[in-house]
Subunit: 202 residues, 2 copies
DNA sequence: CCATTTAGCGACCGATCGGTTGCTATATTG
DNA sequence: CAATATAGCAACCGATCGGTCGCTAAATGG
């Protein structure tokens, strides 16, 4: 029925699978993402889907990578042009709020990284390790900007960058929950209130 | 093989199922909790387990109730004797830290409510509704203590109790993640640092 | 003591899971 | 143009999923 596509078409097929996989995983989790359902959604056979990834864990890893690309594209690329330090950090946080509030097309079930972290934090294996690595990477990016802001005098000199990054992560997990579980319209404002206290010039 | 037990024994069996169910769900999630595995763990048949709960959703709801009982027993009963307001709030937070750090026997996979919230926040149905209800209940308890603390002058008079409760929830989600995903020994201290800022007399 | 209730078992059901295999038919390569 | 490589399909595998049903045998109530 569906014979060989060109290599270019095959790449597009792979991207289609990953795009859908990211969306499904954000709703059902990385374990709840099943090959059969994914194939049915895309009008493909299970074999056709699995042909692009050797196994389910490999598919999960590819989905995580694709999601990380999307996250960085949405959040970081919008912060990067800003002045390093507080301006860039502020821009990143604003883009982060926007990501959680409005990127329902890509992540209809909310932040995939929060979902994946909670899902795999009590397990072991390559998926868990990748989740942890991505979280650490993001924390490092945040802490670096905080450190720059401190040396620039934009934040109090006794600020602990790791501490601020830690609190930022918690704040945005609360935002994700507020949006997904309670559909609370004040959620973004609450987050900005907390940010203003956390990132105050002191 | 296993004929009728007395009604008293049946109650104990039900409690055994729930205790194990809470532990498994904290690791695997409420969906990853399967009746067959639960039965095998307990040396029972699937029919024997399902006899105490009419369906899997009913089992999930019962597990949530049992977990809420345990959480309130561990955290709230240790805060309740304290003076209403800031002292009680501080005691609750300290017990909450302790719960996340040391109650691995009951919740070996970390806070079940965080897991369940992330797992069901993009779905619908009675399990999701119960998760949301329990979260709201806890937030209300926290906000009430904050409000008492404000009227007692223990916190600045312009403090928004809902805002503080919101930030507390995020802070403890970060703590749960730090413990489960990174096994970070400084996690509790980071949380206390943030608490001292958040609950400062101002 | 006898009738009834019921905790729990074991076998079974259809559906779905992740995964494998053989095949088809086209794109690619020489 | 001929030989080869390969994207994707269809059928199938054993395991497990949630759930049902008939049964047993002891606890319970009259």
């Amino acid at each position: 029925m569906s014979p060989r596509r060109s290599v270019a078409e095959a790449r597009l097929t792979r991207e289609r699978i990953l795009q859908r996989g990211v969306a499904v995983a954000s709703v059902e989790g990385l374990e709840g993402l099943t090959i059969g359902q994914l194939a049915a959604d895309l009008g493909m056979s299970k074999g056709g889907v699995l042909g692009h990834f050797s196994s389910k864990p490999a598919l999960q890893l590819a989905v995580l990578d694709a999601a990380a690309d999307a996250f960085l594209r949405i959040v970081w690329r919008r912060a990067e042009p800003e002045q390093p330090g507080l301006p860039r950090l502020r821009a990143a946080c604003e883009a982060w709020i926007d990501y959680l509030e409005h990127e329902r097309g890509i992540f209809p079930g909310g932040c995939l990284f929060t979902t994946a972290a909670v899902e795999f934090d009590a397990r072991s294996g390559p998926v868990r390790d990748t989740v942890a690595r991505l979280h650490k990477l993001w924390r490092r990016l945040l802490a670096t900007e905080v450190r720059t802001a401190v040396t620039a005098g934009e934040l109090p000199h006794d600020t602990d960058p790791e501490q601020v990054a830690y609190e930022l992560v918690g704040l945005f997990m609360a935002l994700n929950q507020e949006i997904q579980l309670f559909a609370e319209p004040q959620a973004a404002q609450r987050t900005r209130n907390a940010l203003n206290r956390l990132l105050a010039a002191g």
